[in-house]
Amino acid sequence: MSYRCHADLGGREDSRAVIPEAEGELFHADWEPRVLAMSLAMGATGLWNIDMARAALETLVAAKGAASLDELALHADAWREAAQRTPHGQPIEPDFAPFTTP
């Protein structure tokens, strides 16, 4: 199994054109400026920070019953372990066998 990270897009093959946009074209729907302002404003309250917001997103799978937090942690550990033993530039291949085979 090869893994390609979907966050780091640099150098990935993509044949689609880049579509230029006029300078004044900022928002594309009414909700966009309100949500931008709300996330900036709530950031300013200090009630949560970006890591807490990310954690909320990351645990949605458990809140929605798609997978338990324990299962999520097992996957996170497998990826962490694989990243640590993989030389730089090589594909990171986690070993899911310990918790997928009976």
Binding site: L9, G10, P20, H28, M38, A41, M42
Partner: protein, 188 residues
């Protein structure tokens, strides 16, 4: 989205007027006209240009442009032999105080993936063709460091003042996907 806003307002976390002010700020106050002024100043003032290239954060702050997503600025200068382009291959890091909010294409997968392997192809999408003798340097932004491209000053612009020069500096020319505009021809 409206429910989220009204509940946060009711609980006293946000003030709708403050939200309006934030939107107005990014719609009308913080945008690429700020960066254009920085570039025009650098074109006209050799000392400012040297300062900008040495310590962009401080030079830009001297014009009043500071704040989040621009705490550590680096200015890179285009010449006839080098053309600079800026990307964030990981997400959408962008120098907000000088350029405002990033355009959609800057955040898109095709730009982020292709600009590092085929920058000339990306430039063609913007209608820009550079000579083979011009090297292209692509700078990948990080959570901390943000880049501002200083485009080449167009020829026949010696007579223009700072405000007129700034009018030639487009947002895209400060990301590196365009060149500065040519000035209108002088009347005979």
């Amino acid at each position: 989205m409206r429910a989220l806003e009204s509940v946060l307002v009711m609980k006293g976390y946000v003030d709708p007027a403050a939200l309006d002010l934030l939107i107005d700020t990014y719609q009308n106050r913080i945008g690429p006209r700020n960066g254009a002024l920085v570039v025009a100043r650098a074109w006209r003032d050799a000392q400012f240009r040297a300062w900008l290239l040495r310590d962009a954060t401080a030079a830009i702050a001297s014009l009043g442009f500071t704040g989040r997503q621009g705490e550590h600025m680096v200015a890179v200068e285009n010449t006839s032999s080098v053309h600079n382009m800026v990307v964030c291959t990981l997400c959408s890091c962008y120098p907000w105080p000088v350029l405002g909010l990033p355009p959609t294409w800057y955040k898109s997968a095709p730009y982020r993936s292709r600009v590092v392997r085929d920058p000339r192809g990306v430039l063609r999408d913007f209608g820009v063709e550079l000579p083979d003798t011009t090297a292209i340097r692509v700078w990948d932004s990080t959570a901390e460091v943000r880049y501002l491209v200083i485009p080449q000053r167009p020829s026949a612009s010696f007579h223009l003042g700072e405000v007129e020069l700034a009018g030639l500096v487009t947002r895209d020319s400060m990301i590196g996907t365009a060149l500065a505009m040519r000035p209108p021809p002088l009347l005979a």
